[in-house]
């Protein structure tokens, strides 16, 4: 069984787990919806201001939800020594990492697909720019959250204070991706007159490349301990 097949097996296992018990998606989705509503309390609920900040609120809701989703994803691996069992199998650690990172990217993509129209409706925004770029930001942005999130969740799920540690480690690291995605999504919503979205997409893609390669290299060392 080569690395790709092993990666696919890990991904298929996670998808199957999520399909059989949809409690993770339901809980995280309602949490994300709640945060979208809570953001309106942070400032005057002025329609123009809410519309202008719709992209920021969407990405903040995704970021906060990603912590819950990632933590839960690895909690199921640590319970009953499931991760220990996976390590005993002749599985390449890279396959484990990329399988878990892909499954979490898919999970966040599903979440973003539900949250995007919801936030557009709540904040009165609409897509005036390129829809293709918007999809690009959603895919690359969720991938940028999932890869470092998986590495950190693998560590924190086995440590004391896991609920504090995961956001503390993840948030500072993903700030560049978050800034580029908020700005890029904002341009896709308000109209990209200067054509800046493509350069922001390449920024997110560069960070994705760094995160997916560095975290993939380190994952094996981290779960070996």
């Amino acid at each position: 069984m080569n690395v790709l097949s092993q990666c696919w097996a890990v991904l298929a296992k996670d998808i199957l787990l999520d399909l059989r018990g949809s409690s993770r998606l339901t809980a995280v989705l309602f949490f994300a919806m709640m945060t979208l509503l809570l953001f309106s309390f942070g400032s005057e609920p002025d329609p123009e201001s809410m519309r202008r900040h719709a992209a920021g609120y969407l990405w903040l809701a995704l970021l906060l939800s990603s912590v819950l989703a990632l933590g839960e994803s690895f909690r199921s691996e640590v319970e009953d020594e499931a991760l220990e069992g996976l390590r005993l199998l002749p599985v390449d650690p890279r396959a484990l990492f990329y399988g878990k990172a892909l499954s979490n990217t898919l999970f966040l993509l599903v979440l973003a697909t539900i949250l995007l129209p919801l936030s557009l409706g709540l904040y009165g925004a609409e897509v005036r720019g390129s829809l293709t770029s918007l999809i690009g930001f959603i895919i690359l942005g969720t991938a940028g959250l999932a890869a470092p999130g998986c590495l950190y969740a693998a560590m924190t799920s086995q440590a004391r204070g896991q609920d504090v540690l995961l956001p503390l480690l993840l948030f500072p690291l993903v700030v560049p991706v978050l800034i580029a995605c908020v700005k890029g999504t904002g341009l896709c919503l308000s109209g990209d007159a200067m054509g800046q979205a493509s350069s922001l997409l390449s920024v997110v893609a560069t960070f994705d490349l760094v995160y997916w390669s560095v975290c993939g290299l380190l994952f094996g060392k981290v779960i070996d301990e």
Binding site: P148, L151, Y152, M155, T156, Q158, A159, R160, G161, V164, L165, L168, L169, F171, P172, L173, V175, P176, F207, V210, Y211, V214, C215, L218, K221, V222, D224, E225
Partner: protein, 240 residues
């Protein structure tokens, strides 16, 4: 009890002497800066702190790679010490920047890209130290600290290059000998090397303390329980 003299104190003393002389030059000898006048003299400590905070964190990255390769306790202690000193220098950097910004730009803090990325860098490496404090087991602590340091290091080039990528903030571009008056070169260089020597001194001292603490923890840990022939723990040497 006889106290041993450690060689790193020589580097520390040299660093303190150079910092005193460099700061005296910066405060009283060189002419005031054309734009910032007297308040600009904080430049002689702020810029060396900035250079050295990034340099120390780069050293941490190199040590982290080394730890993952050789798994030596000494490297792990040096890595932790250098992350601690990097965090300390970054705190100093932000405090000095705020002290400078208040009279110059009439604000303690602004959402300038350089300031924001430096604050994020501080939180990222503070997170590494938190992770270390929560991790149980020597090997796990060692590997997790190294892995988290390598990932957090992604922020360091961003902090360095952000003034080129997003030059719209209040922070001025990089300070090089070509962009700074030659009147200031000596004081600036003295303080830059002084801050480096002090960082090396701190790292060496903390490395010793961490190694001693680890040795103390290992000595105070209870010995593994003796087991009888049936694998069950023995009570006072009697199989039970």
């Amino acid at each position: 009890m006889k106290t041993r003299f450690h060689k790193e104190h020589i580097i520390g003393a040299l660093g303190l002497a150079m910092l005193s002389y460099g700061s005296w030059m910066g405060l009283f000898v060189v002419p005031p800066m054309s734009h910032f006048q007297e308040v600009g003299r904080i430049f002689f400590i702020h810029v060396p702190t900035a250079w050295n905070s990034l340099l120390v964190l780069t050293g941490s990255f190199i040590l982290a790679v080394g730890v993952l390769i050789n798994r030596r306790a000494g490297w792990d202690a040096a890595l932790t010490a250098s992350v601690e000193v990097g965090v300390l220098y970054t705190v100093m950097l932000l405090v000095q920047g705020s002290i400078w910004a208040r009279p110059t730009f009439n604000t303690w803090w602004t959402w300038d890209p350089r300031l924001l990325t430096a604050a994020i860098l501080l939180v990222a490496f503070a997170g590494v130290l938190s992770l270390r404090s929560f991790a149980e087991g020597r090997d796990r602590r060692m590997v997790w600290t190294a892995a988290a340091t390598i990932v957090a290091y992604v922020d360091v080039p961003i902090v360095y290059f952000i003034v080129n990528w997003l030059p719209r903030g209040i922070h001025q571009p990089h300070s090089f000998p070509s962009t700074v008056s030659s009147d200031y070169h000596t004081a600036l260089r003295l303080n830059a090397f002084a801050m480096l020597f002090i960082a090396i001194w701190f790292i060496a001292r903390r490395t010793r303390v961490i190694l001693l603490q680890d040795a103390g923890t290992a000595m105070s840990a209870p010995p593994p329980a003796e087991t009888g022939s049936d694998g069950k723990p023995m009570v006072a040497g009697v199989e039970g």
